[in-house]
Symmetry: C2
Subunit: 181 residues, 2 copies
DNA sequence: ATCCGCATGTAAGTGGTTACATGATTCG
DNA sequence: CGAATCATGTAACCACTTACATGCGGAT
């Protein structure tokens, strides 16, 4: 359900192919939603079946055909309904934090190596978001609210990764301190 | 998979019934993992089938029977394997942030009411975590690392909720500023 | 020639949610 | 005496992941 509405959201910005959406989920949407390509193609097919999107085939000139998906009027209405709906409280799931919670029995070296791997992942994710932000013109809430809201979610994504890195650093220091004590 | 390992993690602290686990997921684990009761009972049954846990029925004296689940030696090994494994990068999913990302077409009032609802939710979640922390004795990494790691995840949960509230406040202010301009 | 990126999808399996079901105890 | 909480589970459905599958064009 949420995935289908997020796809409608992207189509409301511009018509997109399944592949375009894959890239959107891997980049701009990475901070708030993840979607697999199998899911994307399946969901697009359902949106077309339900009349919320329609397809337009662009013959490949020097590339494979692209199947562009346009939002229909019905689709735009449904998107709006979803946007205005107060969300059901979301369900957090983070396997790394779960590991740390139960990691009392692990040795110092194992813990530090888990943390180091996570630092690398988080840094890469933050840098990817920062690269997107660098390509995005500054936006003002009064003149272009849609762009401003997108910039605000991006900023928050970067900030959260930054906070997460600070936490990992505190963990690292705590373990080191205990080791030398 | 991750759910089954988290359950092993809880059983490694103490034997628990399905109901105990439900409460654990609703309280101490709320920050990093959510699990439905149907899932919990199904997964517990599978752990027993696979020999990673065993049951002990406690006859109810003035309450229904409880089925306590104990970790087996095999279960403890598998838990350790999972803990030491470098995690597959997790997949974020937050429907609220997704809404904000696409909410350009919503009116000020609708946006503010979405934000207000989220502030209420997040405040409640943060307060619930703070109540748990208040009941938890301070832990030191050198003396009781397991307790210290649990306290660190709890702290980080609280801090993230706090950060989220600060972001919601910036959103609120931006919308208000644009309105009056 | 070979690899990488573009572009599309299907099939099978696993994980997660919602609705259905039951019955005792405790508190107001 | 009614509602909430404790305690257990099942069935059906829906969402998500992983592996399989194909083929073109451009770069090295």
């Amino acid at each position: 359900m949420t995935l289908s509405r997020i796809i409608l959201g992207f189509l409301s910005i511009q018509p997109m192919s399944g592949y375009d959406l894959m890239r959107a989920f891997a980049t701009s949407a990475a901070y708030f939603w993840h979607a697999d390509k199998a899911q994307i193609y399946r969901t697009l097919a359902r949106l077309v079946d339900d009349g919320l999107a329609r397809t337009e085939v662009i013959a490949g000139t020097h590339a494979p055909d692209r199947v562009l998906h346009h939002l229909t009027d019905e689709g735009r209405l449904r998107l709006r309904d979803w946007l205005a709906q107060p969300g059901t409280p979301q369900s957090t799931r983070d396997a790394f934090v779960a590991r740390i919670f139960f990691a009392g029995e692990l040795g110092d070296a194992e813990l530090q190596s888990l943390i180091a791997a996570r630092v690398a992942e988080t840094t890469a994710a933050r840098d990817a978001l920062e690269r997107i932000r660098a390509q995005t013109p500054a936006a003002d809430p009064a003149t272009d609210r849609a762009a401003w809201l997108r910039a605000m979610t991006l900023d928050q994504g970067i900030r959260e990764h930054q906070e997460h890195l600070a936490w990992l650093e505190r963990l690292r220091n705590g373990i080191e301190g205990a080791e030398s004590a």
